[in-house]
Symmetry: C2
């Protein structure tokens, strides 16, 4: 066997073990009894230790030195493996351990602090997390930008400066659009209760309508919906709330977007570095375009309205137009994960600026809450009422995930670009969606984005699909047109 | 850290990884979509390779040389680890691989052969399996008895000679009892259909009634019921058949017996070699005493009758006595897994004699079917009608599991002994069971059998619990008394 073949055989086992590790997480959130948690913690730790040993295995370094890429696929595989190997090599083992231990502790302290609205007990451990991640960034950046070094774990090739420029263009127009919309009378909301079994049945119908392959996955309930796994075993979860069936339906469609990306990757890449979504931003572009540009479109919601009437009878919404406005209703609110399509990115933009300032040292952890509250007031026009609705709301920083937040908005920006091109490529799109038929849309996304998996760099995936370098323009145009229409601006 | 502590830390991770491997199997039988099978096969192989590497890790040998046992628990841990390490060391890696490959192939050929009632295409690969297992037995036995070497994987310390003596004493009295019972008029059977959701609800009630802890496990449906896992995550499965609710209820109680054994082991042994059931025979003793001596007793079936009336209304059985006879009805049949308490051991005894003759070389694979059919006719009085009802019915030999079958009957023999002593120790037992209260019985089994896990050798576990060396007498006395009573012999 050649060095490349040896390396790939080793890597294939590593990928299989990673899949198992992910499946344990799925099991924990969906199936495992609560009393089993202490044992599961040891199982997770054992798998992490096995995976770590493989990541630092010196044979990988030797194979990488000798391996030669004979084609584009091999070159991409080597790029991924080299990136991961070099990343691990740059960070001292002691520091990596310290980060793992501290974030695990910080996560527990954060959960308690959020429940008790108690910022003070959280900030010391967050300060420790920030300092450790800065230290890691110094090791990774080797003289380059610290934030970029962290960002690249989630979005290879992206830079903070480039995102800053993009986000700076987004912010004023989003703030203005939001203010204009909230100045108008609110569309009607849902009222009453909606049978949960019927919600789940329609949720499954929606998953199938978007092309989710139940023969290579399954749908279960979870407190926080997620999708899990790559290759031919990609599972999703959803949730139900008797008062809010949209939560169920759009959680499902969002997770189906993530899951279809994984399911639609070329099967030749199964259990290789190319066999998973290429970045968080590209992943989010798929979940968001399924959920928003398709799922919350006038055409598709017209079909969904009929489905809901079939499932729940008359639920107090008189016609498709009212239903469309109801689905896309914009409300005041503090919480990112509950935000609508219009306001969501404003939540992300402020986190991006704040975490970048934390990592650069321009913002001290002790000043974080004040900075958060000032920024929120500036963009949303009202004050944060309590820390659990403000700086304590997200899990990310406690887990050390600085650099992750901007990929949410980057995904929305990508989705905006893809939507523009997809609408050109599928001229019958609205007529199809009005019948609940997403097949041409998801086929276009499969062939132009999803199937290449990790073959190209993230930004290149979108550039190849669109024929232009992605920018914030299409997303802004789309949002302004959509919400002006609904709110008669 | 001392050598013992190093070894135990390593072993603890190995045990955690084994639990994960078992959980993958559970997932495959209960949750995984069919289309995910090829990926799962690679995941299994990757875990097997990780576990194999740990089993042959030379550090284990070095630690074992230096480690000193300072108490009974440490001595037992070292005994288990040493046994497993030495077993692996004795078998050449090439032979182990060949066995794994051949049994995997044989399993597929067997499944097809059974479906098509085609012995001829199965025998060549079975012959190969037998020869490989003989070769392995030679490596393991180091001059000792070949069959014992295989048997000891499932029942450490047991010998074929000892089992032969025990089974020779069982056979004539079982054959005679069976013939006498089948000479009598048959008790009434069940008729009609039984709602499957109601079966599952009552099945869960039964599991709880026997002390199964749902906070450290769960119940799902599977084609072939099983229990899975050790420690504080022990899951069971059951099945439903609209015409046969007893299949569901007694599958559940059987698996609950296995699961409670695992759940009731001293938590101090979690993820150590002592943290699982000590042998197949002792395991089966627990599943069988829950299922038969308790679950099919006159007292407990009296309570179950009321439960079934509550769940299904009048189902055509007039009273508790008729119901008791119905539960314990003895039918003609070819299939071991469908056999009642009385006939079950006759199925096992013939397999034990046949597989022992295969391993010793006294019986050639080409003569196996004839030997099977002759023996069946002798013990059951009628001829096997087709191979899928005869020599092709069981999965075991295709998987190379020679030495496994006798542990089923050994478990029944152990259950017979335990039942005799338990009835003495719990004088109110029948009065309790008549109210569906198993608590004193399962507490006795927990304290006298289950909690010690792997601390003692299998036979010693039963001897300590009973105060005498286990033998076939109590089982025979119990069966003769029970079936004479039901059938008025």
């Amino acid at each position: 066997m050649s060095a490349y073949e040896d390396l790939m055989a080793f890597q294939r086992q590593t990928e299989a073990l990673s899949q198992i590790s992910g499946r344990l997480g799925w099991d924990q959130e969906t199936m495992m009894a609560e009393g089993s948690a202490p044992q599961r913690a040891e199982e997770h730790a054992a798998m992490a230790s096995v995976l770590h040993a493989r990541r630092v295995d010196q044979r990988v370094g030797e194979w990488l030195e000798k391996a030669k890429a004979t084609d584009e696929v091999a070159a991409a595989n080597l790029r991924h493996i080299r990136r991961s190997f070099e990343r691990t090599a740059k960070v001292p083992a002691k520091l990596a351990e310290e980060i793992a231990k501290t974030t695990s502790l910080a996560h527990r302290i954060w959960a308690k602090a959020r429940a008790e609205d108690d910022v003070a007990t959280y900030l010391p451990v967050l300060d420790k997390v920030v300092k450790l991640r800065q230290e890691e960034a110094v090791a990774l950046a080797q003289g380059g930008d610290l934030y970029d070094a962290l960002l690249n774990d989630y979005e290879p090739g992206a830079t903070g400066a480039e995102l800053e420029a993009m986000f700076r263009a987004l912010r004023p127009r989003l703030v203005a659009l939001r203010a204009a919309v909230l100045d108008q009378p609110k569309p009607m909301g849902l009222s009453g209760t909606f049978d949960e079994a019927a919600q789940l049945a329609l949720s499954t119908k929606l998953a199938l309508a978007f092309g989710y392959d139940m023969n290579k996955g399954r749908i279960d309930k979870a407190v926080h919906p997620f999708s899990s796994g790559s290759g031919i075993d990609v599972r999703i979860t959803t949730r139900t709330n008797p008062a809010d069936p949209f939560n169920c339906f759009y959680s499902t469609i969002h997770e189906v977007g993530h899951a279809c990306y994984e399911q639609n990757i070329d099967e030749a890449y199964l259990l290789t570095p190319l066999g998973g979504g290429v970045s968080m931003g590209v992943h989010e572009s798929q979940s968001r375009i399924y959920e928003n540009q398709i799922g919350r479109s006038r055409a598709f919601t017209g079909w969904l309205y009929g489905q809901m009437r079939d499932s729940f009878g008359d639920f107090g919404i008189a016609n498709e137009d009212t239903f469309y406005a109801c689905v896309n209703r914009v409300n005041d609110g503090f919480i990112r994960t509950e935000a609508d399509e219009l306001q969501y990115n404003l939540h992300v933009l402020m986190r991006f600026d704040l975490e970048r300032a934390l990592i650069s040292g321009d913002l001290a952890v002790k000043d974080l809450e004040a900075a958060w509250n000032d920024r929120f007031k500036a963009d949303f026009g009202y004050a944060v009422d309590k820390p659990s609705n403000g700086v304590l709301q997200d899990v990310h920083w406690s887990e050390g995930l600085m650099g992750y937040f901007p990929t949410y908005t980057l995904g929305n920006v990508f989705a905006g670009c893809l939507n523009e091109v997809m609408r050109g490529a599928v001229p019958t799109l609205d007529a199809d969606l009005a019948k609940g038929d997403t097949s041409k849309a998801v086929a276009w996304l499969r062939d132009n984005v999803q199937c290449s998996g990790g073959l190209y760099e993230p930004k290149d995936v979108i550039t190849r699909a669109c024929g232009f370098v992605p920018s914030e323009g299409p997303l802004l145009n789309y949002l302004e047109a959509k919400f002006s229409g609904i709110y008669g601006l």
